[in-house]
Assembly symmetry: C2
Homo-oligomer: 251 residues x 2
């Protein structure tokens, strides 16, 4: 392998000018993978976020900082259109949703009552989604704190990972699936489904419950969902991924 | 002044085990105030958050890290009960709301229709607040992404700042008010009201639009809401606050 693209860290989606919804990810695993790849003479393009841990400075490393899912989409599109990567290792924790609208409970109750008056019971999902989509008349730059409850609606983000094989069908794609406290069977099933949907070649399946300090249990599955390796630290996971990419690249 | 307490940074409130709502604050202003106070021989207890900038290491500095508003409440209560502070400089950006409940649009529509069936039109704020408060039957450790919209409800946090004078009525309290793109009259009015409600002695009023790089426009108002000083950089704001606290402490 000569050149790879790594994404790491977690995106943040703005609620207003002072608050956002953040996906927690230290970016440590992506960083360890980058350092190992660089030490093997591989050039690394690295997309990360402000608060994530970054790889050590290296002449083979170029870092791009992004904040939200839209930034990531633009940055990925640009890089994939102007470079050829042997592999893309997409470890960034990307927000599935982005804030669409916010209401005080007073405003939300008013909107609901308007909707009820205009519609026959029961309300349909399409009708309720108008509340989720609807832009407020006065978009507030900072949400007021003078209400007991806020209703925040969030809209699904496009799946940025799907861009990767659309733009570069020949690159090897490693995706990641993090679940919380599920059985190994469930984890492998969900990870495999998500990899197949995104035309990934490998998926690293892990469970937040098995990540503590230096210990990080990871299972690498191939494109058929078969377990091809297991590792219990971040450096071991990084080696496992890079070794399998190199092997695959040779064929 | 011999000993002060400074809070700085921004709290994060967990939505689930991998996402949270974060109040952005670099913590830079609190950090500059701490460094100046330490250089004047003042002991500083410093409450901050993981991602905030921290003061330089100093023998007169003790740092306490917190994550959410509840942590802050506990840490403040503990410190205020076991120390006597000449002043408390509360610059931390504290979340006004904490996530209470989350629904897919499908689940939310179902809950809404149940509420409509059970209630007479129009719905009252009290009725709608049941949706905001109601605990889900299956609390998810990670919210599923298989829905087009999420409805997230947030509940108001207790005003932690009010603890300060409740526990130590004799300390001097400096509060902060950050608004976004308002007139100076509006900013001073809101800042004064908020200071008075919390029994503050000073309030530093600032507008996000006047904070850029090294430039940071701040207005210091006294307990009657009178403007007693203005500064346009973080070090100048820090000097202004410390000078006024020292002057006040002498009387």
């Amino acid at each position: 392998m000569k050149k790879i693209l790594i994404t790491a860290g977690g995106t943040s989606e703005k609620i207003d000018q002072v608050r956002s919804i953040t996906n927690h990810s230290t970016g440590k695993l992506g960083c360890v993978i980058a350092n190992q790849a660089l030490s093997q003479g591989i050039h690394v393009d690295y997309i990360s976020t402000a608060n994530a841990i970054k790889p050590e400075k290296h002449f083979g490393l170029v870092t791009y900082l992004i904040e939200d899912t839209l930034d990531l989409k633009n940055q990925l599109t640009d890089l994939l259109n102007t470079n050829t990567y042997d592999a893309v290792i997409h470890s960034m924790a990307v927000s599935d949703f982005t804030p669409a609208n916010s209401y005080s409970i007073e405003a939300f109750t008013e909107q609901l009552n308007q909707l009820i008056t205009q519609s026959d019971a029961p309300l349909t999902i399409e009708q309720v989604s108008q509340l989720a989509e609807k832009a407020q008349q006065n978009t507030e730059s900072k949400i007021s704190s003078k209400t007991d409850y806020l209703f925040l609606t969030l809209k699904k983000n496009p799946k940025v990972i799907q861009l990767i094989k659309q733009i570069q069908p020949d690159t090897l794609l490693v995706s990641f699936k993090l679940l919380v406290d599920v059985s190994k069977e469930e984890l492998f099933k969900v990870a495999t489904e998500s990899m197949m949907k995104n035309h990934g070649d490998f998926v690293l399946a892990n469970d937040l419950m098995s990540i503590k300090g230096d210990q990080h249990l990871g299972h690498l599955l191939d494109k058929d969902g078969q377990l091809i390796g297991k590792a219990s630290t971040k450096p071991a996971i990084a080696s496992l991924i890079l070794a399998n990419l190199t092997k695959e690249g040779v064929h």
